[in-house]
Homo-oligomer: 239 residues x 2
């Protein structure tokens, strides 16, 4: 990067999972001139490979990166994402069985920590890549929740936020296909992002997030660099 963001931009924190959405958001914020500190979480997710890719993105963008270890939560938060005894549902992402992938209060936990980091950093915003495609399954990705959390956090840090902090959600009304288009326009290296919930070293092509990823590239008309083990088209009609 040619610009020295440490002296020019506003400070910001971004919640970076290493998935497609948050990686595009990291590029988006960086390109907007923000000096960004990325916070990632290891909560015992099977798809821990996403954290390696988050680190790759931070290195490429010259961003500070903090990975917070929350693996103590694995035995006490119930979810198919962390429990190897539960199956990751296959097929279309909007299907009701994807609810097994909810991690209780996950976004509240991540945003509470990222917000605390932002207060310490004297940052102006905390970016999170929640988008409209998440709303159906995940209540903690909906605008009402984000707005209420922002009110609570502002009250909980009254007198200690300098300047006032914003929960920044530029994708909240957009689809995943829209995010792919934004990423393509910004030359985001999509191969540096991970979506598959099953884990392993290549995308399975059958789980809900693989199907969602495949579909988003197709709808956006953007070339998908992902190698899928199975053909997502065979699973997209499965509900």
């Amino acid at each position: 990067m040619e610009v020295d963001y440490t002296t020019t931009g506003s400070k910001a924190v971004v919640v970076l999972s290493g998935g497609l959405d948050s990686t595009v958001l990291a590029y988006f914020m960086r390109n907007a001139g923000m000096y960004t500190h990325a916070v990632s979480f290891d909560y015992g997710q099977r798809h821990v490979k996403e954290l390696t890719l988050a680190a790759v993105t931070c290195k490429k963008l010259g961003m500070k990166h903090t990975i917070v270890n929350l693996t103590d939560l694995k035995p006490v938060l119930e979810s198919a994402l962390t429990d190897p005894r539960m199956n990751i549902p296959e097929g279309h992402y909007a299907a009701d069985n994807m609810k097994a992938t909810v991690v209780p209060n996950r976004n509240a936990i991540m945003l509470a920590i990222a917000y605390g980091v932002a207060v310490s950093d004297h940052a102006v915003m905390v970016g999170t890549a929640v988008h409209a495609g998440d709303h159906f399954i995940y209540p903690d990705c909906r605008p009402g929740f984000i707005n209420a959390l922002q009110v609570a956090f502002a009250l909980g840090n009254e007198g200690f936020q300098e300047p006032a902090l914003e929960l920044y959600t530029p994708f909240i009304g957009l689809s995943k296909a829209d995010i792919v288009r934004i990423g393509a326009a910004a030359n985001v290296p999509f191969a540096d992002t991970w979506s598959c919930y099953v884990g392993g070293s290549i995308h399975c092509g059958a789980c809900g997030t693989c199907c969602e990823r495949y579909e988003a590239f197709a709808l956006a008309g953007v070339s998908d660099p992902t190698y899928y083990r199975a053909d997502p088209r065979e699973y997209l009609t499965k509900v």
Copy 2:
């Protein structure tokens, strides 16, 4: 304990620091017949001794105990409680210099995690021992914050809370002296609780929390079993 709470009481989660207030709350909830799961946090606090005492309380009460390691946050959350280069202020607790002991968004972080655990446990409430004496210094102990957080968490877990969860704050309008009185009436072994923010193996007697502890016992007219290295009366007038 003679009662088997695992089969009789409602399930509840309690945020237990090992300090005086939350230990009294744990006894209070247990005595009310709740089957309680205590959640404690290691965030790199100097006074990590409180966690040992939290474990003692859980063992005595036969409560499930989860200690969540958040020490990754120590370098990124700015506070005198975790940074050995900063001084813990001495003297009266309500003094303005106690603001150095604020950990940004601490209660939001702890309550977000405890709430997620409670959703997984199908519990009916999350207890936290915030009290009126905290309000002056800590914005994340005030009723407005707790109420706003409850609204946000309810929205963030819509459809996944069964039953609906309450943030339970029975001490929020009470003073620390009131809590000492409640604890004395319930025969809480106060020697199992820790207040000093400086760390070490005995209470320093000079820091704000030692002064506050000493004063609460005196105001309540309850015998204080604490051994203080220095006499808190010499520091109580210091602001």
